[in-house]
């Protein structure tokens, strides 16, 4: 409600994150960009210094007030450094006032890690694209091309949930059942295994069109079937539910660089239905069509925001609110089996495309999370998982290769433990 020059309250989607952050669920996502050449730290730092001037909202620290958390502007400067942590390691630490994002590099790769309180994937992608554009044009001494993205400082720091909340009386949300949960041995120290597959997009598109559907639905169905084949039979008494974030910017005009997304829970009940690929595809695309209608989405904004605007929620001290939000977060987590998010096509200025090999994105949570984005003719699909077993990944990628896709896999190291030794 207050956005003056010095501080701002958290946006609606961010409210729940700080309460529930923990070592195993860092809520940090990483977007990486791999170039064809080594990264030069000096140019990267100067590009970052320029980028932060545009994205001032990123130069904030998270603080606890008496009633709510808030973001406070700071003079702390971001410093690029060589990658020295696990992917998606925690960025927010209580009691220490550090920035909520981090830029690092390793050989040919630039990583931007962002705490979800600050921004969602789309907002962070704008940041990274700006950074890469500035870096490449400085390093190669070309005139800086302009990006297809235009927003004033106010627009970028805008809380779009507040903008589109009408305060109309909300309808009762349908109760959701608990979902089938993945279980298994996990890596020590809450490490995550990040497995990224880089795939030529055309064979996938052809396969999706053969099933008369879109790429997102097709891949979601592949993932759902891979999960269904992996989990024990009796676990499927509960539906397998994918948590699919929806970028609200494409439905409600907004240029916010902060959070503006909602999630759809798309489930399939393998216990009562036959689980053929056609049927799963049909169920997912039907659910998505309903869920993505404008009325449904504004209903979701109303429901989310109503909680925040509720007078009792507002005047409850944070010390009471925090544990309650934590419980709500874990309760909500039981309604999904895995996360599946598609950031869509990443576009870069034509003259810079030749320097860039790929973009990829992954998210640190304590469940299986699949994130994807595409650049030029290739799609990158990243599985981040705390589990040692990679059966779901194997089934998923083998499904794709059986359809003639060429897959190239990169895996982050997870210490000495190999599968099967646990």
């Amino acid at each position: 409600m207050n956005t003056d020059h010095n501080w701002s309250s958290l946006d609606n989607a961010a409210l729940i994150f700080p309460a529930a952050a923990q070592k195993a669920d860092t809520q940090v996502f990483r977007i990486s960009c791999e170039l064809y050449e080594q990264i030069d730290p000096v140019s990267l730092q100067s590009a970052l210094d320029e980028t932060i001037q545009i994205f001032r909202v990123y130069q904030s620290v998270l603080k606890r007030g008496f009633f709510w958390y808030y973001l406070e502007n700071t003079n702390r400067k971001p410093v690029v450094h060589e990658e020295n942590t696990q992917p998606c390691a925690a960025l927010y630490r209580k009691n220490s006032k550090n920035l909520l994002f981090d830029v690092s590099y390793f050989k040919n790769r630039i990583n931007l890690e962002v705490y979800h309180v600050l921004s969602d994937g789309t907002g962070a992608m704008h940041f990274l694209r700006t950074l890469i554009t500035k870096y490449l044009s400085q390093y190669h001494q070309i005139d800086e091309p302009s990006l297809d993205f235009d927003a004033s400082a106010t627009q970028m720091s805008d809380d779009s949930f507040r903008k589109y909340y009408r305060g109309s009386s909300r309808k009762k949300q349908t109760r959701r059942v608990f979902a089938c949960r993945l279980r298994g041995h996990k890596y020590p120290e809450d490490r995550l295994k990040i497995m990224t597959g880089l795939i030529k997009i055309q064979p996938l598109l052809d396969a999706a069109h053969r099933h008369h559907t879109t790429l997102t639905v097709f891949l979601a169905a592949c993932l759902m079937n891979a999960i269904s084949e992996t989990v024990p039979e009796r676990a499927k008494k509960r539906p397998i539910v994918l948590d699919i974030p929806v970028n609200l910017r494409s439905h409600f005009p907004s240029a916010s660089a902060r959070n503006f997304f909602s999630v759809l829970l798309i489930g399939y009940d393998y216990w009562h239905h036959d689980g053929t690929f056609e049927d799963v595809v049909k169920k997912i695309s039907d659910d998505l069509r309903v869920g993505l209608s404008k009325e449904k989405l504004s209903q979701v904004i109303e429901t989310y925001s109503a909680v925040e605007h509720n007078i009792f929620a507002r005047i409850t001290p944070l010390i009471v609110k925090d544990p309650a939000l934590k419980v709500a977060y874990h309760y909500a987590a039981r309604r999904k089996t895995a996360g599946f998010s598609n950031l869509g096509i990443v576009s870069m200025p034509k003259e810079l495309e030749a320097f860039i090999r790929s973009f990829d994105i992954c998210y640190g949570s304590n469940q299986l999370q699949v994130c994807m984005c595409s650049f030029q003719d290739r799609l990158s699909i990243s599985f981040s998982s705390p589990f040692v077993s990679s059966e779901i990944q194997r089934r998923f990628f083998r499904t794709l290769t059986s359809m003639g896709a060429e897959v190239e896999i990169t895996t982050s190291p997870t210490g000495n433990m190999k599968e099967g030794e646990s």
Binding site: M1, N2, N6, W7, S9, K63, G65, F66, F67, W68, Y70, E72, T74, N75, E82, E83, N84, T85, Q86, P87, R93, N95, S96, K97, F106, K107, R109, P188, E189, M195, G197, R314, I315, S390, Q393, R394, F397, R398, T401, E406, V407, E408, I409, T410, T411, S412, P413, G415, K418, E419, G420
Partner: protein
Amino acid sequence: MKYCGKCKVSIRGKDANCPLCQSRLSGTDEEELYPFVPTIYRQYELFFKLLIFVTIMIGVLCVAVNLILPDSGFWSLFVAVGIGCFWISLIYALQKKDNIPNNITAQVFILSALSLGWDWFTSWRGWSLNYVIPIACSVAMISLAIIAKVTKMPAEDYIVYFIIDIVFGIVPLILYFTGQVGFIIPSVICISLSVLSLSALILFEGKNVLQEIAKNFHV
């Protein structure tokens, strides 16, 4: 680039086995794509284990000696409670080690509460109100002011705690007027410091104070 014939996927990096099916890969090694991150070694773990063990040892030793010499009274109980108080204070200090203003303020409260408890259970002589509380408040205010100036701490990082310290510094005033204070010198010093700090804060940081309050108490 390496290749897994069973999964029909290319694998980047140096892995000998396929990350999907664990069968052997063909092809040549590539450069590492991720840095090696060593497992986090808990740096001070041994030190704290030793510290805990030493305090347990002292406690057990005192109780044992006390049991052997029962005529000397229940003095070992004080040692045990003292050890408990030491750990309460230390654990809190370690948890908040990155936020010094918060830590100072919290220590004042912990120290005040513990001293009141001690005083109460040891036939109330009033030393907690006479000495501990006013001295702790004064030290907190002075040290916070010095630390903030020396480390050039931004106003928003310490003002809230400074206000809390000042308000807590008013407590000796109430005690003074209600006649709870026997030896008044520490209380008078503490109250004067509070008033001085408050006027300095309003005069020099008035705008920041208002902003801090708006931030901290927005609903």
